[in-house]
């Protein structure tokens, strides 16, 4: 027979079995039903733990994918350096690459960023073509997208003319474009004078076309003319206050024509008018600080040279034949072609003879000269220039024209009266008969 202790243990087990049994037999609790499927409550706990792990893993995976998607960088193109993202307001992305390239490919960017085109929102594409919005350099510099590379010298003006149509048309009528089209590759296109990337407005002192820079810009191809110009009074005036004439003031800027062309500004037939653009401009060059005489065109027009020129005589002298074209100097400069001592040889160039000093004894542009009409017996206090055209005590240059000014109208009027009255009297007397 079992001991009470053993009975008690048995009882505990029975109780437990009874409990299980009871719960199994008479209850509709779903939990109980579930536990009945797993069969054992310990298995139930294991199952719950596994479910928690799976949910956590799932959430972790979602988070990881999300994080990876959000945080991962764009795919690098062809393994090159990563370009920064597109930013609004930056006109082109060409510079994003070119700024980091070797000197010859990055200098254009630096120069362009200083140019007037940069501040006026002209972009690389406007001249070079291509597509700066493409994400790789093959696409952005594809000829299919209009990429030109370095524009051809002959056709460059077509690029510039898209905006600068007037200047482009003028350029195409000029000698530089004609020479290029005829195969002279050393002729100048837009960029040769204005620069390619660092294009600056004419007011900018660093511009290639600023008055201070223009002579050296043109002189790069025309060194002889520039050297002569550098010795002249125009360049001195430019250096003083920028007001002197530079190359383009005489030759024009874009429609530059050779002097043989009858429509050229420096053709002999048009030269006087070209010089007169400044030299007849009373407002700009006759001030006390200049003292340049503004009657030079009028006095030239009174000369035989001008009169013959008007009728098409091609041999006569115009401005530059006496004053030189590039090496223009004042008459007081001993090196000037119109310095009195140099006039015999200057005039002799055309007159094909060696003149004496008499040719310098007079004023070619003779108008307001020293013709005051006063009697002058001594020439000691005269300036050398005035003494050179002293013709005697009577100022003939004053009195002779004055004499005719009074003689012609007065005498002709008198004669006219005598003739008319005489005919009237004769008519009246004949009628009376």
């Amino acid at each position: 027979m079992p001991s009470p202790a053993s009975r008690g243990h048995t009882y505990r087990v029975r109780e437990c079995v009874l409990y299980v049994h009871n719960s199994h037999g008479g209850s509709d609790n779903p939990f109980l039903t579930e536990s009945s499927r797993w069969g054992d409550p310990r298995l139930l706990r294991t199952r719950n733990a596994l479910r928690s792990v799976a949910v956590a893993a799932f959430l972790l995976a979602v988070l990881a994918i999300l994080a990876f998607w959000l945080l991962s960088p764009e795919a690098p193109p062809d393994g090159g350096p990563d370009p920064p993202a597109y930013q609004e307001g930056v006109p082109t992305s060409c510079s994003d690459c070119h700024a980091n390239l070797p000197e010859s490919l990055s200098r254009p960017v630096r120069e362009f960023n200083e140019s007037v085109h940069f501040t006026e929102f002209v972009t690389c594409v406007d001249c070079h073509g291509g597509d700066p919005t493409a994400t790789n350099l093959i696409d952005s510099m594809s000829p299919a997208k209009g990429y030109l590379g370095v524009p051809d010298k002959v056709t460059l003006n077509a690029q510039c003319s898209k905006c600068h149509s007037v200047q482009g048309a003028q350029y195409r009528s000029g000698v530089h474009d004609r020479a290029l089209r005829e195969g002279n590759a050393s002729s100048s296109s837009c960029a040769d004078c204005h620069g390619a990337h660092r294009i600056l407005p004419v007011e900018d002192v660093n511009a290639t076309i600023h008055p201070l820079g223009e002579p050296s810009t043109c002189g790069a191809c025309h060194p002889d003319a520039a050297a002569k110009y550098g010795g002249g009074v125009h360049w001195r005036r430019v250096q003083d206050d920028l007001q002197g004439a530079t190359c383009s003031d005489c030759h024009r800027s874009h429609d530059i024509l050779p002097k043989e062309d009858p429509t050229s500004s420096v053709n002999f037939a048009n030269e006087a008018g070209t010089c007169a653009n400044c030299h007849s401009a009373i407002a700009s060059i006759s001030g006390w600080y200049y003292g340049v005489k503004t009657d030079r065109l009028q006095t030239y027009q009174e000369s035989y040279h001008s009169r013959a020129l008007k009728y098409g005589d091609e041999r006569v002298a115009t401005c530059s034949d006496c004053h030189e074209n590039h090496n223009v100097r004042t008459a007081t400069d001993p090196e000037s072609s119109v310095y009195p001592d140099n006039l015999p040889s200057t005039c002799g160039r055309c007159h094909a003879t060696s003149f004496s000093e008499k040719i310098g004894q007079g004023l070619v542009h003779d108008r307001e000269a020293a013709h005051s009409g006063e009697l002058r017996w001594d020439t000691d206090d005269l300036t050398p220039a005035a003494r050179s055209y002293y013709l005697g005590p009577f100022d003939l240059g004053f009195w002779v024209p004055l004499f005719f000014q009074f003689l012609i109208p007065s005498v002709v009027l008198l004669l006219f009266l005598v003739v008319v009255l005489g005919n009237v009297r004769t008519y009246l007397e004949d009628r009376r008969k």
Binding site: C347, F355, S388, Y389, F404, I408, V412, L415, G422, R425
Partner: protein, 228 residues
């Protein structure tokens, strides 16, 4: 008109000289004025009319030299052949005639009685003579500019141009007004005095315009009749 009695006024030589003077004179005018007034509307057509700029200069120089030669011939002929300079030399009577002529113009006197050449003709004759000297001398100097530039100061040359071109204007106006108004385009002789072609003048007009010559002629005729 044709039946009128005509008397000789100009010899054939004088008439030929008249033509040889006025033809180059007008050539000088139309070739010279485009140079003096290059900006007038008529100046370029005139230059084209005479055959262009080069031809303008040639015609002007040849005509000028021709008139200078004619003047020299005329003076020599007068001095050497004619030897009768008195009738064309101005004298005191011409001054008196001039004053009386002025009075006649305003109706205060009778018309002066003129001989073959009155002060009107003498004024014109000597005016032409002085003009020839002035225009010829200045013109010949300006014909050789290179020589002139080496001989005179340039200022002198410029004065020569002022004298030449202004006297040309003066001369032309005097001829147009004085010669035409007194001789050709007059109320009696419109449109011209035919004496320059025929050399003859109607006796009636000789009596009117040159009464002293008319009387002298009548006197001579009477003497001729008397001697016969």
């Amino acid at each position: 008109m044709t039946d009128e009695e005509q008397v000789q006024r100009f010899t054939l030589q004088q008439r030929v000289q008249h033509v040889l003077l006025f033809v180059p004179f007008f050539l000088l005018v139309i070739t010279g004025f485009p140079l003096k007034f290059p900006n007038e509307w008529w100046s370029e057509p005139l230059v084209n009319l005479v055959g262009g700029w080069e031809m303008r200069g040639i015609i002007h120089r040849v005509s000028g030299l021709f008139i200078v030669g004619l003047g020299i011939y005329h003076a020599l002929w007068y001095i050497v052949v004619d030897r009768n300079p008195k009738k064309i030399l101005p004298g005191r009577q011409d001054v008196r005639d001039f004053v009386q002529h002025m009075k006649w113009l305003v109706g205060r006197a009778k018309k002066p009685r003129y001989g073959k050449y009155g002060w009107v003709e003498k004024f014109e004759y000597w005016g032409a003579g002085i003009g020839m000297v002035i225009m010829g001398s200045t013109g010949i100097v300006m014909m050789f500019p290179n020589w002139a530039f080496n001989t005179f100061p340039l200022a002198t040359y410029q004065v020569l141009w002022v004298v030449h071109s202004n006297w040309a204007l003066f001369d032309t106006l005097v001829i147009l007004i004085w010669h035409m108004g007194n001789v050709h385009f007059t109320v009696r002789n419109f449109p011209m005095d035919r004496s320059w072609i025929s050399g003859k003048i109607p006796l009636e007009r000789l009596k009117e315009e040159h009464p002293l010559e008319y009387e002298e002629r009548q006197k001579k005729e009477r003497e001729a009749h008397a001697s016969e």
